[in-house]
C-alpha cells in the first residue's frame, strides 16, 4: 500500500508541475509580453515598464516561473492588476460561493442518482427502469445552463419562490445563502445525476449477477434484502470513481452556471479576468482549478485502493 501511495504521489507531483508549465507557457509566453498585452494598444512605453515592474515581469522566464510557483506554494497568488489586491484574497472570497455551490450540487446529484439507479437496477426492464432511463437520457442531453434558465424562469420570475440570481453574502445568514444557491445547484446537479444514475444502475446489475448474491439468495434473503445488504455496497465502487471525475465537471459547470445566476464565484472571477485582460488572475485561478481536479482524482484513486485491495497491485 505504501509503495502504491508513493508512486501515485510521484505522478501527482509530476502532473502538477506539467500543468503549471503548460499554463505558464500559454499565459506568459504565447502573447509575447504580458504587460504590453494587458495595457492594450494605446499604452506608453513608460506605463508598460511600470506595470512590468509591478507585476514582477522583469526577470527571465525561468526566474518568473519559479517566482510564480514559489509564490503559489506559500499562498501568494500574485496581485490582481485591475483590483490592486492580492489574488489569494479574491480567491478566498470567491470560494465562499463556489465551494458551497459545488458541494451542494454534489450532494443533490448523489441524493437523486443513487436511489434512481438502484431502483432501475432492481426493477430492470420494467416500467420504473424505463422511466428512470428515459429521464437520464434527457438529463444528459439538456445543457445545464439552459436548464438553469428554465428554472429561473419558472421558480424565480413566474412563481417568485427563489431569487433569480445574485448572492446575499454569508453575513445575511445561512437561509438566504441556501435560497440563492438552490436553483444553481439543481441546474448543476441534474446532468451529473443522470450520468451517475446510469453508472449506479449498470454497476448494480453487474453485481447482482455475481455468485455471492446467488449465495445470499440461497441462504434465504429476499431479493430486496440481498440488494440492500450486499449488492449496493459492492456496486458503489465504480460510482466512486465517476464521482471523482464529476468533480471536474462540477467545477467546470460551475464556471458557466455562476454566469447564469450572477453568482460572484471563481467562474465569474475568471471571466472578469479575461475581459479586463488581468492575466495574473486568469493564470492563478486556472492553476488552482486544475490543481483541485488533479488532487481530487488522486484522493479518489487512493480511496479506491483502500476499498478494493486488488487495485494496489497494478501500481
Amino acid at each position: 500500500m505504501l509503495s502504491f501511495v508513493l508512486s501515485r504521489l510521484g505522478s501527482l507531483a509530476l502532473s502538477l508541475v506539467v500543468a503549471s508549465l503548460v499554463i505558464f507557457a500559454v499565459v506568459q509566453i504565447i502573447p509575447g509580453d504580458p504587460a504590453t498585452f494587458m495595457m492594450g494598444l494605446n499604452a506608453t512605453p513608460a506605463s508598460v515598464e511600470t506595470l512590468r515592474k509591478a507585476l514582477g515581469l522583469t526577470g527571465s522566464l525561468p526566474v518568473r516561473y519559479l517566482h510564480w510557483v514559489g509564490g503559489m506554494l506559500s499562498g501568494d497568488l500574485g496581485t490582481s492588476y485591475t483590483y490592486r489586491v492580492p489574488v489569494a484574497g479574491l480567491v478566498l472570497q470567491r470560494l465562499q460561493v463556489s465551494l458551497p455551490l459545488t458541494l451542494f450540487a454534489l450532494f443533490l446529484s448523489l441524493a437523486l442518482a443513487l436511489p434512481a439507479g438502484i431502483l432501475a437496477a432492481a426493477r430492470r426492464g420494467r416500467g420504473a427502469d424505463l422511466t428512470v432511463m428515459g429521464f437520464t437520457q434527457l438529463g444528459i442531453a439538456v445543457p445545464n445552463f439552459w436548464f438553469a434558465m428554465l428554472l429561473a424562469l419558472l421558480f424565480a420570475l413566474k412563481l417568485h419562490w427563489l431569487p433569480a440570481g445574485g448572492f446575499p453574502g454569508w453575513k445575511a445568514g445561512v437561509l438566504p445563502v441556501l435560497r440563492s444557491l438552490t436553483l444553481p445547484a439543481i441546474a448543476l446537479a441534474l446532468p451529473q445525476a443522470a450520468i451517475l444514475a446510469r453508472v449506479m444502475r449498470s454497476s448494480l446489475i453487474d453485481t447482482l449477477g455475481q455468485d455471492f448474491i446467488r449465495t445470499a439468495r440461497a441462504k434465504g434473503l429476499s431479493s430486496g434484502q440481498a440488494v440492500r445488504r450486499h449488492a449496493v455496497r459492492n456496486a458503489l465502487i465504480p460510482v466512486l470513481t465517476i464521482l471523482g471525475l464529476q468533480f471536474s465537471f462540477l467545477l467546470a459547470g460551475g464556471i458557466i452556471i455562476e454566469n447564469v445566476f450572477y453568482l460572484p464565484g471563481l467562474g465569474r472571477l475568471i471571466f472578469q479576468g479575461i475581459t479586463q485582460r488581468d492575466l495574473i488572475v486568469v493564470q492563478s485561478v486556472v492553476m488552482l482549478l486544475v490543481a483541485a481536479v488533479i488532487v481530487v482524482n488522486f484522493v479518489v484513486e487512493i480511496a479506491y485502493a483502500l476499498i478494493d485491495p486488488r487495485l494496489r497491485r497494478q501500481a
Binding site: S11, L14, S15, V18, A19, V22, I23, V26, V27, I30, P31, R124, Q137, L138, I140, A141, V142, P143, N144, F145, W146, M149, L150, A152, L153, L157, S202, I205, L245, S248, F249, L251, A252, I255, I256, N259, V260, I270, F271, G273, I274, R277, L279, V282, V286, L289, V290, V293, I294, N297
Partner: protein, 274 residues
C-alpha cells in the same frame, strides 16, 4: 434487444439528421435572411409569418436557428476530427508498445488533459487569442484527443493478444503496419460509436462556450449565444429562451440515441447485456 437497438438508432438518426438537414438547407434557403432586422416586427410570438417568432431586433428566430445549427455542427464535427486525427494514432502506438515508456507517457498525458476541462482550455486560449469559434473548436478538439486515444488503446490491446495478430508478427510484419492493416479496421466500430458520443458532447460544449461568450462571435448566430441574449428578455419573451434550448436538446438526444443504437448494433458482445 436487437429490435430495440434498431429503433433507438432510427429515432436518433432521424432527430440528428433533421438538424443536419436544416443546417445544410440554411446555405440555400432560410425563411428570412437571418440577420435582417425589422424593428416593427420585434418580439413577435410564433405565428404563420414567423414560425418561431422574432427577437428584440425583429430578426426571424427560425432562420437564426437554422444558421446556428451550422455553427454547432461544424464546431463539433471539426473537434471530433481533431480528436480522431490526434488520438487514434496515439492509441494505436500506445497499444503496440504496451507497458513501454511511450505507452506510459501517452496515458499520463491523457490524464493531464482530463484535468483541464474543455471550458478551462477554452478560457486559456481565449485569454490569449481573444474569443472566436476557432477557440471552441480547439478547446473541444484538444479535449477529444485523449478520449479517442483511450478508446483506441483499450480496443487495440485486446486485439494484440489474438492469434492472427501473432501470426502477422511471426510473418515479419512490423508493428506499425499491423496497427494500420489489422488493428485499425477492427477498432473502427468503437471509434464510430465514440465519435457519435463526442459529437453530441461537442454540441453541448459549443453551446456552453458560446453562451459565456467564448465561442462564435456576432453576427454569426449560434444556439448558445441566442440563449445568452434571450436571458434578460426571458420574463416577457420566453419563446426566445425556449427554442434554441430545444434545438440543442433534440440534437444531442438524437446523437446519443444514435450512439446507443450503433453500439448495440456494432458490438455483438453488448447485445446480451442490458
Amino acid at each position: 434487444m436487437r429490435g430495440r437497438g434498431r429503433a433507438t438508432l432510427w429515432i436518433g438518426a432521424c432527430l440528428a439528421g433533421f438538424f443536419l438537414a436544416l443546417a445544410i438547407l440554411s446555405y440555400v434557403w432560410t425563411p428570412y435572411p437571418y440577420a435582417a432586422m425589422d424593428i416593427a416586427q420585434k418580439f413577435r410570438p410564433p405565428g404563420p409569418l414567423h414560425w418561431l417568432g422574432t427577437d428584440q431586433f425583429g430578426r426571424d428566430v427560425a432562420s437564426q436557428l437554422m444558421v446556428g445549427a451550422r455553427t454547432s455542427i461544424a464546431v463539433a464535427v471539426v473537434a471530433v476530427a481533431i480528436g480522431m486525427a490526434g488520438g487514434v494514432p496515439l492509441g494505436l502506438w500506445a497499444a503496440a508498445r504496451r507497458g513501454s515508456l511511450t505507452d506510459e507517457v501517452i496515458q499520463r498525458g491523457g490524464d493531464l488533459v482530463f484535468a483541464f476541462p474543455a471550458i478551462v482550455i477554452a478560457i486559456l486560449i481565449t485569454s490569449v487569442f481573444g474569443p472566436s469559434a476557432l477557440n471552441a473548436i480547439l478547446a473541444i478538439g484538444i479535449f477529444n484527443i485523449p478520449v479517442f486515444a483511450r478508446v483506441t488503446r483499450a480496443g487495440a490491446l485486446s486485439l494484440w493478444t489474438l492469434d492472427y495478430i501473432r501470426a502477422a508478427q511471426v510473418a515479419g510484419k512490423r508493428r506499425a503496419r499491423i496497427s494500420v492493416e489489422h488493428i485499425l479496421p477492427n477498432v473502427a466500430n468503437l471509434l464510430i460509436v465514440q465519435g457519435t458520443i463526442q459529437f453530441s458532447l461537442g454540441i453541448l460544449a459549443e453551446a456552453g462556450l458560446s453562451y459565456v461568450g467564448l465561442g462564435a462571435q456576432p453576427p454569426t448566430p449560434s444556439w448558445g449565444r441566442m440563449l445568452a441574449d434571450s436571458q434578460t428578455m426571458m420574463a416577457f419573451a420566453p419563446q426566445l429562451a425556449i427554442f434554441p434550448g430545444l434545438a440543442i436538446v433534440l440534437t444531442v438526444l438524437g446523437l446519443n440515441l444514435m450512439g446507443d443504437g450503433l453500439r448495440d448494433l456494432l458490438d455483438p458482445r453488448l447485445r446480451r447485456r442490458s
